[in-house]
């Protein structure tokens, strides 16, 4: 699954996902990726978030919406990401989950559980090339 957040030169925020889901799924099963607020969420007034992992679990927490709501409540993107994973981990500590949160100023944070690591790809104008930052879960 890819989840992506972009902010353009006018400060507009967009987020999206694309996936083929989990292998061996029961036919008809859909994960969190196409569910607004779960796989991705964006709000020009605060920022955006995208989530990845075990979609059957993650959609039960509206993970991306939750991350953006934490931003709205004044938390930093890193705090917001940590709090989303903590929320999921409280109930499902053994399920894979990861999230990236970006605020409207371009600050970002990521958090994860169970995955051994969670790389995030980033590009902004101060960079000469795309950067990959990896979070240990």
């Amino acid at each position: 699954t890819i989840g992506m957040i972009a902010i353009d030169g006018n400060g507009n925020v967009a987020a999206g996902t694309s996936t083929n889901g989990l292998t061996y799924k029961i036919p008809g099963r859909v994960g969190d990726s196409p569910i607004p607020g779960s796989g991705a969420y964006a709000d020009n007034s605060v920022g955006g978030a995208v989530a990845t992992g075990d979609g059957d679990v993650m959609m039960r927490f509206s993970a991306s919406f939750l991350g953006v709501e934490f931003l709205r409540n004044g938390y930093t993107p890193q705090q917001a990401a940590d709090m989303v994973i903590a929320r999921i981990g409280k109930y499902y500590p053994e399920n894979s989950a990861a999230i990236v949160v970006v605020d409207v100023d371009g600050n970002y944070g990521s958090a994860c559980q169970i995955f051994s690591s969670f790389p995030v790809s980033i590009y902004y104008s101060e960079l000469d090339e795309v950067k990959v930052e990896t979070t240990r879960c």
Binding site: V13, P34, G53, G106
Partner: protein, 183 residues
């Protein structure tokens, strides 16, 4: 610090990031265009086998796609789920956003919508799908997502029948979701 514009995406799918950055920075186009075109790169490249055609088959060996795009300016969303026979999931989602008043289209009728919008109807399966499912069947269909069925889904393939409620197994054992198998 102020970092506008910016593109951030999950995993080390850097060609998607580079494409989105080109759209939003060099071409000075919209964030929504950047997300669509960035994620489309992954659909073509079949990033990690977890995006696009020919990956993550169902028990029956079929690949279906899910995609969603959200505009934070208008709070409008377009999405497709369980999309069959169309490779461009996020672009179809963009068409749901741009050309309908709906949010989410699913299954065969999402496919019909996509065809009406000019997308090509084509198989999403590759020989890799068949190999994955043959290997899975050789492992007695392990792992899988069934529970409370007979024969036991933990040891045998289906078809299954429901277990009566009095002897239900309440354990929730999920197949591994890892760096190469995720939503």
């Amino acid at each position: 610090c102020k970092r506008q514009p910016i593109v951030v995406n999950t995993w080390n799918f850097t060609n998607a990031t580079i494409k989105a950055w080109d759209v939003v920075y060099r071409q000075q186009r919209s964030a929504i265009d950047a997300v669509e075109e960035g994620c489309s790169v992954c659909e073509v490249e079949q990033c990690d086998g977890s995006v696009g055609y020919g990956g993550s088959p169902s028990e029956e060996g079929e690949t279906t796609l899910d995609g969603m795009i959200m505009d934070g300016k208008t709070m409008n969303v377009g999405a497709v789920a369980g999309l069959r026979y169309i490779k461009e999931a996020i672009s179809v989602a963009r068409h749901v956003l741009d050309y309908t008043k709906h949010t989410l289209l699913v299954g065969d009728q999402a496919t019909e919508f996509a065809v009406k919008m000019g997308f090509q109807h084509q198989s999403l399966s590759t020989p890799n799908n068949e190999q994955i499912i043959n290997d899975w069947k050789a492992r007695n269909c392990q792992p899988n997502y069934w529970r409370n069925m007979l024969p036991s889904p933990e040891t045998a393939c289906g078809p299954y029948e429901k277990v009566s409620s009095s002897i239900q197994d309440i354990r929730v054992l999920s197949p591994p979701v890892d760096e190469h198998n995720h939503d």
